[in-house]
Symmetry: C2
Subunit: 148 residues, 2 copies
DNA sequence: CAGTTATTATTAGCCGGCTAATTATCATTG
DNA sequence: CAATGATAATTAGCCGGCTAATAATAACTG
């Protein structure tokens, strides 16, 4: 049996390499990979509860808690206790968290472009489409239920 | 800017989900994800040095060292010092390491089938092809240089 | 209103990826 | 042969994913 000839194996391999590559690029702006997904979500909408953030990003709450601790340390976000619910906290971007956005977007586009450098426009679309199909299989067709 | 609409983002997301799914399935045969890639390589050829193993799999030597320690503990492989080179070690599959193969292959095929359950034959081929292209970009077209 | 259940954040601890630094050994070269 | 350099394994320690277990608080229910 040839494990190397499965999509499963290819996917793991490619993703690991891509992640490593992304990490190196992000080092240039002083970020880690995990912080990105959180930043993306916060740039979309600020001041959310951790649990909502985690659900939206698709990570476990302890994972984003750990990432957030690091981001607070380097001054990218602030954590504020809710007034009407002493259990929950809201996460707000600091000025630095906002300011870093344009630089990150630049890096992000570069990484995307490098990843797809050998691909035609059509191939890019097809790859995106097929990966979307896999994502929908794993996450279910998410109806973007943004509760508060 | 829409990060969600990049292949980069999709790839990370899908790979994370797939990895988690694989991990759950492997628990059924008492394995962890990292041990798989090592087993694949050992099933291909037994008794290799750690450094060669690592290079072939595409992982850093400390990573495979850590994985191998776990595999030795559960009795999947043995580590033997080379006679003509006291620095190096060879890794051999134990009987258990051989015996587990068929069960793992079963699980592996199931996972692959689940991943691609919604895909036509053509789509599967295309996805494999495109991912291969990405892999070749990141690893270079590996000329399978198997030194000893 | 008292007790139970559910929710939020957190902690602890595992796995697997990495780099940097150590240790031991081999190889080379002067 | 002595010194230097290269190589193999290992250790330490970081990041990011996870589950399980705690603590605090809300919410529900009898």
């Amino acid at each position: 049996m040839k494990f190397e000839e499965t999509v499963s194996h290819l996917l793991s391999r490619v993703a690991t390499a891509h992640k490593a590559h992304l990490e190196k690029r992000l080092a240039g702006v002083g970020l880690h990979g995990g912080q990105l997904s959180v930043l993306f979500e916060l740039w979309r909408r600020d001041g959310r509860r951790q649990v909502d953030l985690a659900r939206e990003i698709g990570l476990a709450t302890p994972t984003v808690n750990k990432i957030l601790n690091g981001m607070i340390e380097v001054g990218l976000v602030d954590r504020t206790r809710l007034e009407d619910d002493a259990r929950a906290t809201r996460i707000y971007l600091t000025d630095e968290g906002h300011a870093i956005r344009s630089r990150v977007e630049e890096v992000w586009l570069e990484v995307e472009e490098e990843l797809l450098s050998e691909f035609t426009e059509t191939e890019r679309y097809i790859l995106f489409d097929l990966l979307t199909k896999v994502r929908n299989y794993y996450f279910g067709i998410d109806p973007d239920q943004t509760n508060e």
